[in-house]
């Protein structure tokens, strides 16, 4: 339906990023190396609230060029920040993009917030931006993320063998992909 809500879910809301308001919380999350290592293969390092604001400014530059769409995930009940969801590296000519979702506090994981955010972000990508496919990069050790993405219809497409070094071991960088036709709307 054209009038259906895109940003209001059952328990969460996709809100515009607000670094002024949220920098302290995001800075706190960045002191949890497990969170950072599950999020990406980038070098894990804690960020000050000032550095968080700088990073959000960078993300906003991409958003202004329409190469990225960034959201804060907030709990509807009390407007508390739960994490972020974003579409980035959008190539309009080919109607493709990548996605990333993070739930910052480990006590907020496993409660369905990420699943709801993913469902809403996919709907935004396919029904509003009219993208044709999405990619999601992760690492072999993040089996939770792989299962989470597979439930929504993503399939593992690429394994860059031994591309990630952590704790003295080499892990595959795993790239998943989802075509619009395969998207499980209600998953």
């Amino acid at each position: 339906m054209l009038t259906e809500q895109l940003f209001e879910g059952k328990t969460i809301r996709l809100a515009p990023p607000d670094a002024e308001r949220d920098a302290e919380t995001i800075s706190k999350w960045s002191h949890d190396p497990e969170y950072l290592r599950l999020l990406s293969a980038d070098i894990a390092k804690p960020l000050s609230p000032f550095q968080v604001k700088k990073q959000y400014e960078e993300w906003e530059k991409d958003a202004e060029k329409h190469n990225a769409f960034n959201f804060a995930i907030r709990l509807k009940e009390d407007d508390r920040l739960l994490g972020f969801a974003r579409l980035y590296r959008i190539e309009w000519t080919h109607a493709t993009g990548s996605l990333q979702i993070g739930i910052g506090d480990r006590n907020d994981r496993g409660k369905g917030y990420g699943t709801e955010a993913l469902r809403m972000l996919l709907r935004y990508a396919f029904d509003e931006l009219n993208l044709y496919r999405l990619a999601a990069p992760t690492v072999e050790y993040n089996t939770g993320a792989i299962r989470f993405l597979e439930r929504a219809g993503f399939v593992v497409e690429v394994r860059r063998r031994q591309a990630v070094q952590r704790d003295g071991r080499r892990w595959d960088a795993v790239m998943l992909g989802l075509l619009r036709d395969e998207w499980k709307r209600e998953a």
Partner: protein
């Protein structure tokens, strides 16, 4: 041994003042452009190329491919994304001068770049992606030891259909083992 010199080619600094005109000429060849870029094919002016080259960060290795016989600029090659802590880089190559296609110049430059990546930068792996149907490039990568690691399905749209993006990778130890066979 000069780490940047091969049997047919050498890797040299790109000189925006002298090379921009040649690189801009390649952009008139739309078929070449599709193989070399993901942006829509687009003829660009030398001034635009020069500005882009001037903006190139110094820490990103990008080289001009020049022939050893007459020092002619025939293409570009480089490591465009380096993940420092992971010691992985993505590479790209383009041979703009068509008369040098299919004669081993690209493969030679590729071998030189791999030596630079593994012996100079001490990387653990080199990654790349190639458009489905670009057989010439895929063969050259296989010759240098790259193996298929997957395909991003329908990643590109051209001529009313979708094309896969094929991912290939080469590990340092695989590359070293190849050297011993030669």
């Amino acid at each position: 041994m000069d780490v940047l010199t091969g049997n047919l080619t050498r890797l040299a600094a790109v000189n925006p003042d002298t090379d921009a005109e040649i690189i801009a000429r390649w952009s008139r060849d739309s078929q070449f452009w599709r193989l070399a870029h993901t942006e829509p094919a687009w003829p660009v002016a030398p001034a635009y190329v020069k500005r882009k080259l001037d903006e190139d960060p110094i820490e990103r290795p990008r080289f001009a491919i020049r022939t050893l016989t007459d020092d002619r600029l025939i293409g570009l090659i480089g490591l465009y994304t380096i993940f420092q802590a992971q010691r992985e880089a993505f590479m790209g190559i383009q041979i703009g001068e068509r008369e040098f296609w299919g004669k081993g110049y690209g493969t030679d430059a590729l071998r030189v770049l791999l030596r630079y990546a593994f012996d100079e930068l001490n990387l653990l792996r080199v990654s790349l992606s190639v458009l489905e149907g670009n057989e010439r490039a895929a063969r050259s990568y296989e010759k240098c030891g790259f193996c298929l690691e997957g395909r991003e399905r329908h990643a590109w749209a051209y001529d009313g259909r979708r094309w896969d993006e094929i991912y290939m990778g080469l590990l340092r130890e695989e590359w070293q083992a190849l050297g011993k066979e030669d």
